[in-house]
Amino acid sequence: MFEVIIAIGVLLLLIILFTLFRISTLVNVVKGTDKKWVSTSNKVNAALMMLFMIGSFGLFFWYSWTYFDDYTLAIASEHGVLTDQLFWITTAVTGVVFVATNVLLFYFSYKYQYKKGERAKFYPDNTKLELLWTVVPAIVLSILVFTGLKAWNDITSEASEDAEVIEIMGYQFGWGVRYPGVKDDQLGNYDYMLIDAVNQFGMDLTDENSYDDFMPNELHLPVGKEVLLKIRARDVLHSVFIPHLRVKMDAVPGMPTHFKFTPTKTTEEMRSELGDPEFEYFISCTEVCGRGHFSMKLSVVIHTQEEYEAWKAEQPTWLKLNEDYLEQVPADKRELAKIKAGIGNEEEELEASL
């Protein structure tokens, strides 16, 4: 019943609108305005140009100013300061052009609206003027390019030898992280053919370096130390995006990628800076990867370097958590594996402490 009433209402509204349209058309014909070269609508449109310009610039400046803190993200990495600086320089340059050109566009539209008896100025070209506005943008853009290039080259340069290497792997729909372990500080080899329900990373257990690798549920990072994220994907494309660290790099199956950066604020520092005791850094996925694309969130914790080392030392190795896999370790390396993985240590340690 309700739907029928709505339908009748809509129908009546459409009929009224159509009637209004017919009436106005007929009035135009009677008045002869439809034969005129330019009707009064021209003035209305010209005035609306100005109105639109003033109104929308008003909105633009008001929103940009009032909500500045809402739409800008705090920065917590060294290169992030640099890229944000470039962003704001570009904003300043383009902002001026944006306002100036739009103002001219709408103002000229208004100012030079049709006036009876006037004639437009025949002004087909002006080489000097055109050269000017070819060369000036070219120079400004070159400056932006070179500052950008410098930053880009720094960001993408080789990571230093002592960078903290951590592996992250995207899959449908989550992230796995792998640390090289405290004993050898080397990530073990992997092969996608070895992946199974437990060995999610496809770790190659014939490689000694893999025995002490561990895989926590969150990404932990040290503050003030260069981190090299080694990025890969297991099934489809994903992309590691850590908004507050200004980090983004695709995870590609079959082609490992990497991104290096230095965090500058611990989680605690960021919490107090933002006045939000709940704040947590996080990773999200920015390359469409299927049904759960929007839910690929991973918490990131940034520690002081001491806390970080302590945290690392506490983590049980993967092999220790999955002792069944010792069988895959070649017989001659099994003892080494046990030692590196910390299997059987606990009782000894316990005894020692007693």
Binding site: D34, A46, Y63, Y123, S142, I195, D235, V236, G254
Partner: protein, 626 residues
């Protein structure tokens, strides 16, 4: 198909020809399998309008999800069926399908076929003074391949596993593996088949446009006298001809990977508890191939709109377009550069960073000709005598979008800044303004401007104004706020932001955007009414309702087969002699010889008079022997 052979010979011949060909088509050959460029243009236009409406509707459905994540959408079940989950929400996979199909439809079916297909077909023969396209038959095939492609794409919307859902860029492995997402099953197969047909259509059309412009210009119409519309269509067709085949190869290799077990794009994949045997392929290869079309595609979409706008702004400012040569030069420069900037879509895909630096440099260079175009448009308005027709309003709107959206390209083209902004709403805002909305406004401007020549009637001006203002304000309200959302780091193609604290602060702004999108779509129905009503009931148009200079306005109100009943006019001057000092009227059409306008000629034009007389027949030698 005699039309193509008989152009431009002796006067008598023309007369015979046009009488021969009047009114002897039946319904099928006139309206369906027509080889007349004007009818084919209308076919493209109507199909394009259908797709635009559908693409717009899809976007409103996903805007409902983004703007009102808590809303009950049970009422959509009669239309969407199982795509509404039992809880009354949009299925997350269907959300991706919506985004994918919205992009595909808008980029290819509306702004490529709908825009180039309509206006290249309609305007090239009319503005260069030709009886029809070089090959009317190929032109007809071009439309029917497009139609077949449309049918396949449309069918894919209704299959059980859903249409393609890997984003309009269909990056493998997602698009290659049906086990990764349902849309990569039959939906993707149909998508690829449809695109293959679409590419055939584009190539058939493009070859025709290029051939026609090169070979069939009327006497006196040298390239330096071509209207900017034709320049734009010509360059667009060349770009398309060079880049679409690359998309075809990308699609073909993807088809091999999907169906025949090759590994062009696949390597080291473990999915659904199974390690796939494919090794050695590279997903990045696909991205290179895709964007080798994908970036020129942006200009395929945009250049015709810019050409149309140049013509309309000059006509309605009653001024010559400022810097004609610079306008042509910058289009030429853009066309060339468009082929060497593609990898700026790939800065953070793991591509070698050194390549990133090179593409950043080339990308920012392309901003220079774009800037020149904007300044030239603005200078054309300066000291004009502007008449705000609906077409003029949409053209001014286009310039504003081109500025606002183009400037954010300077951020994204800078690889260092792009790290943060890549694949966020900032990108969405950028390309929707500069490519989507600008080109859409070009399309609208073109329809309003050339409607009288297409249908012999006028569209209602006031409805046009209302349509413009609602759409113009609406588009800015939809896309401008997305910049803020993007700077805040919101990623694209997200079904929902509710499980991120940081990404959950813009619910009000997202709601605002969604409401604006619904209003903007609603405003398009004003246009639809105006368009279809005016075809039958609009006020009768005169031959040259806008007092414009180009050749199409010398044809009768309803140009018949062959366009000009008599001889094709000869061209003596460039198309922008508006408000020439000393002239009686404020416009002098291209076919008026200098000898008839001694009062307004410049000294070098007086010289031209000598060449006009007997030079007519010999000035341009056109070989009609086939």
């Amino acid at each position: 198909m005699a039309t193509a052979d008989i152009h431009l010979t002796e006067e008598k011949h023309h007369d015979d020809h046009s009488h021969d060909h009047e009114h002897h088509g039946n319904f099928w050959s006139t309206y369906v399998f027509s080889t007349d460029h004007k009818m084919i243009a209308k076919q493209f236009l109507i199909t394009g309008i259908f797709w635009a409406l559908l693409g717009g509707l899809l976007s409103v459905i996903f805007r409902l999800q983004l703007g009102f994540p808590e809303a009950q959408l049970e009422w959509l079940r009669p239309v969407l069926g199982e795509w509404i989950t039992p809880e009354g929400k949009i299925d997350p996979e269907f959300y991706l399908a919506l985004v994918t199909m919205h992009g595909t439809i808008m980029v290819f079916f509306v702004l490529t076929a709908g825009l180039s297909g309509t206006f290249s077909n309609f305007l090239i023969p009319l503005q260069i003074g030709a009886r029809d396209m070089a090959s009317g038959f190929m032109n007809m095939l071009s439309y029917w391949f497009f139609f077949a492609s449309s049918v396949v794409m449309f069918i894919s919307l209704f299959i059980e596993t859903g249409p393609a859902s890997g984003g309009w860029v269909i990056y493998p492995p997602l698009s290659a593996l049906p086990q990764a997402v349902n849309g990569s099953g039959l939906g993707m197969t149909l998508w690829l088949s449809s695109m293959a047909l679409f590419i055939v259509s584009t190539l058939l059309g493009g070859i025709n446009y290029i051939t026609t412009v090169i070979n069939m210009r009327t006497q006196g119409l040298s390239f330096s006298k071509l209207p900017l519309t034709i320049w734009a269509f010509f360059l667009t067709a060349i770009i398309g001809l060079l880049s679409f085949p690359v998309l075809f190869s990308a699609a073909l290799l993807l088809i091999f990977d999907r169906s025949f077990g090759t590994s062009f794009y696949l390597s080291d994949i473990y999915i659904n508890g199974e390690a796939l045997p494919n090794q050695g392929g590279s997903p990045i290869l696909f991205q290179h191939l895709f964007w080798f079309l994908g970036h020129p595609e942006v200009y395929i979409v945009l250049l015709p709109a810019l050409g149309i706008t140049s013509e309309i702004i000059a006509t309605n400012s009653r001024k010559p377009i400022f810097g004609y040569k610079a306008m042509v030069g910058s289009m030429l420069f853009i066309a060339i550069l468009s082929f060497v900037v593609w990898a700026h879509h790939m800065f953070v895909t793991g591509m070698n960073p050194f390549l990133g630096s090179i593409f950043m440099l080339l990308t920012l260079i392309i901003a220079v000709p774009s800037a020149v175009k904007v300044f030239n448009y603005i200078t054309t308005l300066w000291k004009g005598n502007i008449r705000f027709t609906s077409a003029m309003l949409f053209s001014i709107g286009l310039v504003s979008f081109f500025i606002s959206g183009g400037l954010t390209g300077i951020f994204l083209g800078n690889s260092a800044i792009d790290i943060q902004l890549h694949d966020t709403y900032f990108v969405v805002a950028h390309f929707h303004l500069v490519m989507g909305s600008a080109s859409f406004f070009g399309l609208m401007a073109g329809v309003y401007h050339w409607f009288p020549k297409m249908f012999g009637r006028m569209m209602d001006a006031k409805l046009g104004y209302i349509h413009f203002w609602l759409t113009f304000v609406g588009v800015y309200m939809v896309f401008f706020p997305m910049h803020y959302i993007g700077i805040a780091g919101y990623p694209r193609r997200y079904y929902s932001f509710t499980n991120y604290d940081t990404f959950n602060s813009f619910t009000d702004l997202n709601m605002f955007v969604s409401i604006a999108a619904i209003i903007t779509l609603g405003a398009q129905f004003i246009f639809l009414f105006n368009f279809f009503y005016s075809i039958y009931r609009g006020r009768k148009a005169s031959m040259n309702p806008w007092n414009s200079n180009t050749l199409e306005w010398t044809t009768p109100v309803n140009p018949g087969h062959g366009n000009w009943p008599g001889e094709i006019p000869t061209v003596y001057r460039w198309p922008y002699d508006y408000s020439k000092p000393g002239a009686k009227e404020d416009f002098i059409p291209q076919h008026i010889p200098f000898s008839e306008t001694p009062e307004s000629n410049f000294p070098h034009e007086d010289e031209m008079i000598k060449l006009e007389g007997d030079g007519d027949r010999d000035a341009v030698v056109i070989d009609d022997k086939k």
